[in-house]
Symmetry: D3
Subunit: 321 residues, 6 copies
Amino acid sequence: MSKDHNFFKPVSSVVQPRFAGVPTFMRLPILEQAEWSEADIGLIGVPWDGGTTNRAGARHGPRQMRDMSTLMRNIHPTTRINPYECAKCAEFGDTPVNPLDLMDTLERVGKFYEDVHAAGVVPLTAGGDHLITLPIMRAIAKDRPVGMVHIDAHSDTNDRYFGDSIYTHGTPFRRAIEEGLLDPKRTVQIGIRGGLYTKTDNNWAKEQGIRVIEIEEYFDLGVDKVIDEVAAVIGDGPTYISFDVDGLDPVYAPGTGTPEIGGLNPYEAQKILRSLRGRNLVGGDVVEVAPPFDSEGMTALVGVTMMWEILCLLAEPFEET
Amino acid sequence: MSKDHNFFKPVSSVVQPRFAGVPTFMRLPILEQAEWSEADIGLIGVPWDGGTTNRAGARHGPRQMRDMSTLMRNIHPTTRINPYECAKCAEFGDTPVNPLDLMDTLERVGKFYEDVHAAGVVPLTAGGDHLITLPIMRAIAKDRPVGMVHIDAHSDTNDRYFGDSIYTHGTPFRRAIEEGLLDPKRTVQIGIRGGLYTKTDNNWAKEQGIRVIEIEEYFDLGVDKVIDEVAAVIGDGPTYISFDVDGLDPVYAPGTGTPEIGGLNPYEAQKILRSLRGRNLVGGDVVEVAPPFDSEGMTALVGVTMMWEILCLLAEPFEET
Amino acid sequence: MSKDHNFFKPVSSVVQPRFAGVPTFMRLPILEQAEWSEADIGLIGVPWDGGTTNRAGARHGPRQMRDMSTLMRNIHPTTRINPYECAKCAEFGDTPVNPLDLMDTLERVGKFYEDVHAAGVVPLTAGGDHLITLPIMRAIAKDRPVGMVHIDAHSDTNDRYFGDSIYTHGTPFRRAIEEGLLDPKRTVQIGIRGGLYTKTDNNWAKEQGIRVIEIEEYFDLGVDKVIDEVAAVIGDGPTYISFDVDGLDPVYAPGTGTPEIGGLNPYEAQKILRSLRGRNLVGGDVVEVAPPFDSEGMTALVGVTMMWEILCLLAEPFEET
Amino acid sequence: MSKDHNFFKPVSSVVQPRFAGVPTFMRLPILEQAEWSEADIGLIGVPWDGGTTNRAGARHGPRQMRDMSTLMRNIHPTTRINPYECAKCAEFGDTPVNPLDLMDTLERVGKFYEDVHAAGVVPLTAGGDHLITLPIMRAIAKDRPVGMVHIDAHSDTNDRYFGDSIYTHGTPFRRAIEEGLLDPKRTVQIGIRGGLYTKTDNNWAKEQGIRVIEIEEYFDLGVDKVIDEVAAVIGDGPTYISFDVDGLDPVYAPGTGTPEIGGLNPYEAQKILRSLRGRNLVGGDVVEVAPPFDSEGMTALVGVTMMWEILCLLAEPFEET
Amino acid sequence: MSKDHNFFKPVSSVVQPRFAGVPTFMRLPILEQAEWSEADIGLIGVPWDGGTTNRAGARHGPRQMRDMSTLMRNIHPTTRINPYECAKCAEFGDTPVNPLDLMDTLERVGKFYEDVHAAGVVPLTAGGDHLITLPIMRAIAKDRPVGMVHIDAHSDTNDRYFGDSIYTHGTPFRRAIEEGLLDPKRTVQIGIRGGLYTKTDNNWAKEQGIRVIEIEEYFDLGVDKVIDEVAAVIGDGPTYISFDVDGLDPVYAPGTGTPEIGGLNPYEAQKILRSLRGRNLVGGDVVEVAPPFDSEGMTALVGVTMMWEILCLLAEPFEET
Amino acid sequence: MSKDHNFFKPVSSVVQPRFAGVPTFMRLPILEQAEWSEADIGLIGVPWDGGTTNRAGARHGPRQMRDMSTLMRNIHPTTRINPYECAKCAEFGDTPVNPLDLMDTLERVGKFYEDVHAAGVVPLTAGGDHLITLPIMRAIAKDRPVGMVHIDAHSDTNDRYFGDSIYTHGTPFRRAIEEGLLDPKRTVQIGIRGGLYTKTDNNWAKEQGIRVIEIEEYFDLGVDKVIDEVAAVIGDGPTYISFDVDGLDPVYAPGTGTPEIGGLNPYEAQKILRSLRGRNLVGGDVVEVAPPFDSEGMTALVGVTMMWEILCLLAEPFEET
């Protein structure tokens, strides 16, 4: 027997104060796997940082983001849309992971998202390091490549890294393009910056056709023109949103593994996300929140607010159903 | 249809790593109120600090204790008992509270515990400030007074406080005795210390017959003799355990509102709790964990470990059922 | 016998280093109530957070702001005015509060400000949560309504909240308008943002005539045009300044109870305050500094710097006297 | 006109909550220098760390100790004495210091204590690094040497240090003995430990007749026998108490410049202090609290609790007067 | 040309203050691999936590331990031995590791220690998680099994874990026994405690003949009798020291991945280490220091002090050479 | 025998992960003084804060900046220049300092830089408080005055301070101008702001001809016009870069002694530095990083990134050699 739409609502903060209760994403109900198909959007954690080559900690990201998510409210301030009235949203818990084995984790996470996808659910994910986007794409883009709006300090299109590993949090989009999951010509990367390993870093990405908006160009253009660029690049095709919190200036997101100074501010990031309203969005993630490097939890707050903005985008198209 | 005993088991850490998943107490399943009567022991949070006269913050205690509780394992190291095999244990969530109104909160919390009690469930609580023990006792001791093993830096038997309030976190046991809920002659307080407000502080408690073991006597006796005292005081009658983390030396529990230097260490506190095995225990709580004053969460860890020790005590008698 | 103007001067930092000494606001002398009428401006703390529905802690705000205030110097950088030469300024200490009782606190705080007002002193306040502005207004606006420049992430004009309470830190300006203390048509709110509870949030405020500059409009206008708006709204009538630190982006003010990402930066906030020079100002406050959520104290620093900017505004008109 | 004894009382915590108000030591009134002679005991801060050869920060000690001192209450738990009924106690503020010049600071601090001593006031000091005890002794021991109970990880009797400086926080007691201020035969040092610079470290101290109880002997003897030793060493002569918080295990006092693992616990330190009741005590200090290395302030709490224990000792003899 | 013994000395703290300079272990000189054979003892970091099943972070351990090691001095307080006069000690840097690949790391670390062993150097290691002891033993115990003094909260003799991995930080000593590297009958484990996964946890260890001193027995015996036990178990055979900081109570070592309350205190741990003087020691390590969970660095301080105690033990036998 | 250019290269992060290894600046090799003349650029720490009149801590700056410097990569993102291919760069360690004596330290630091200068090496320095720039200039500007690009919240051209000291971190550039080391007419100060001590503060600087761009003018002009001003002021003469991290808004650099709200953001600071490409640069420093006030280390990260930007500027001219 299917659940009422009212089931898929956050606990009200006038019934239970925000600081109270078992913290699920946005205070949503937990849905067991058998019931997934009843939901429209599943909020999922991937508690894993095994692809991290520098400072680990993103394995703790989903939990702290759940904790901070209870500060979120229900109505979007500019659109006055209530995502929970539009779509049936639920907490799906964390995917399985193997903290000792990268390849096994890729498989476990991939299987989880295949099941989510098979249940007809749009996934919205809290990472975890950025490598997790690869198994997500393997599930949701298996039938056709997707475009991507990618906010990040790093292009994450390296070929290989430490000890010649091809799977790290610096390589997911190289792999996704190679595997035909990501359409580089419908991909835009925003906020890329910081010192490089080699003089040809990021060239491959540009050669594939990715629109790489490095931070210098970002500030020169201004956010409104960047938004125009984004619209032009992604068009109307199916598009994924991947938000690495290190795309923001580290002052807003100190709790991350590879901070690079001189990044976006959250208001402009919100503007970019809000500009995606009405696009053909197939899922999204917020990654690289590493709580051990931010004991106050502000990185998780900014991360989960972005997740909530994406939720509003993903939910609105369900309104008619 | 009643649930299988296996339902009432923590998520295994070899299925999901300890840092993963929605944090419930001890990773136990959440039980809706309609199903409470299926459980033997309910783990409950009271996210409230409105009775606090100094540094507030205990409203955030239950959530951080849930987070840290995922470090707990299943088998007790000395008894080799698995509490989850003995009793059906479940997460009951947080009680309702009203952050703006003390009297309303006492009522809401009291009603919750009445329902728990009516469902035949033994409550194990994470506070919240110490005033919360009063509404708990009103529920579970309404038929006859209980004895108490009380670890704390403060006797909490003041008469009134700020602005002549009779309900604060310094008065619950005065009220409980007056209301006939607590039997002072079967009550032992351990670790009482620190500067006093008046020269007669704690005298009332002693006059009622409470066995007050101030910290000086505690260290003079040694923990083994203290344990003998505890046994003699509580006897075989129904007994409640109330563990204020400020009973510990603040170095072990900096995240609390009213720290007093020179307290118990956790190992000895564990010994005292373990000595209660086989007693007639009717519930317990761990209170005054105030996360804003301990960003690393070690207070919550020590608090929730004590909660787990109490859980083992409460669960064992259910083994035969 | 009245005190010399020199009495009302901060301790010099070449006599006593900034890190030294008992911390009063701006290192000013403490004035006992009997002498209040000798001062022009009183700096006052309201150590209270009982109106807070989420994360408490603002009760500790005044003390940490006093601590950080010793970093302030005497001369304003753009006007080169020394407020302490213009006006007799003094530390008035903290108001009485009752940490256990909201209504009693409103009364105690209100009485204090009535006395301040009766002594002919302009109050400059460090909160405390935002509900404290209500009893302040009851004192200083009892004879005629005041206008307000209000920097905040939230309109604080809700009707009621948790358990149908009409007094919370989300309702003070609804009450002030209802009580005829605040003139909505001479009120401007700057920086309002974040998710909403209902689709009609903030509508009441606009209906009363408050000029609500939501953050999106704020950034679209730019700070210079916002300043023009402010001037137009407040005109020459008596005006109060209320500065909630959560109006700033939380990166500048993490130590607050209800952070909302994407806010003002301190430089622009300073510009707005400085634009009020020459207006008819009757008092001001800086509220919602919650030290337990910012152990480094930077929120208190930014808060007390704003308080110092307001002090310069309040002091200048006294120059001729 | 002299002040009433009631003037010299802390603000009551039922009038003003502990977290409120301008923080003076123990919430005592501030006394201007002209009135010093009306007090029996002066609580004084020396905000200075210019004698520190490693991690500085003790300049901020007095202020954080004042902040934490508001957690103290009035009645001693074991003696039930109220020091404020025995003696007239007051906040004297911080001494002058020169953060840029060690020799100038020694002079400024020395002059301050000469004035205190001339006013007939017993000084109780919050440091500051340990070098500050030298100018204190120059004032209070100028007429005859004093004995000392000295709790510390370090003997502080080095001859010279960095760049052949003879005044550092490692040398005060060598200088005090050389200057005839400290009687080594009536001096006991407790808790000395940690790696040494040379194989003959501390030998000079022992040769002078100081009773050095290194930590190994301390634990072998047990605190009760240590107390006997202390009594035997100091006898009935005038005795000073100097408590360096690094004498405690650093877990209790992480906020200090030169932590050494494996030290005293606060309860035993309290026992040692309490054993000094009835001795001929001429002053005391608690030094080396360095807040920048302990953002939670627990070091200041333990430090100021020791200061309060010493205050009780110093105050009791005034009872008859 | 071989280096002078004077080369192998720490930088003096009267030449360069402790807070200054590039931080090597104990401020020792760095030795390139080509010169290793000139040293007697090599201080080595293994910056790796890939075997960690819960909270990672020990990859940062060696660097923070180097930072804190500059607080160490040269002379042992009880023996008055200068280890740097006894043995030629040097900083060997960090071993290679692969943050993405457990098996590759075991190989890289193993190769490094083979080379150290081949150079005739005794290794003293800062971890890293506890799995690193396995490749160390493969190098230094390849010719004959060693005994071990093992301080830890966990036996680390599990068989397998997450996803059936046989190499985790919970399994090194099972593997070492199976591979004939560790002689269980000459192995003593001290401080074992905490909840168990299964009712038979640690039984395998005992069956092999390891002397497991669980924390309850530890406190019952007292440290002096524990020391006797240790002596009896290890005898005169070659013995390794492995010190997991989680053997200490977490209050002394919060910066670790798997804290268990109720553990050893550092002074007693020092006593146990000091009791090993004169034994046939072949190396040692201090592991599981995870700086992200202890921003103040006190865990690293206690860890590196233990490392220095072990250094004194390892160095003394070289004195005659 | 001279070293190969390859010697002067950072350790590669694909050989050793960024979190591993003994932390030298940028992971460069350490050069002993005898070999200095082989290098083109020396990276130097001055671990000293004895000129600090408020909150000390910059003595720990160089070490934390070394730690964070391992996050730097090799190639500049906009110029794609590799500074290590252009110039021979090396870690020179910390200068000698005397933590107890300001004048002695000025001499020791001065002597060190004279030697660096005599070896023909361009110095790039991590402070330390800002007074250290004076002895640096005495070495590198002894033959002719230099111009300066100076980013700071404070002009640092005060005459004297506490106790009439002429050497403090507020006076270096007054002294440098008086000593003929700094050409005020070729000096530009950017970001000056905050309350003043006197109404004539900074007037002397302007009278000497320094181009003081106070923060208000800075924001009015916009960074591009500021860059034009900078170019016009410094021309082609020899120019030094001095970057005080308090020039940035304190949200980016909380770990500093004298924070002033409302400052530069790092991206614009990077733009200003990058605009100096091709100028006649003779050295640079980044000062006032005070780690005790920023436990997360983000101030050190932003500081060392600026140091790396300056390194790229200093290195490029060596390319042809």
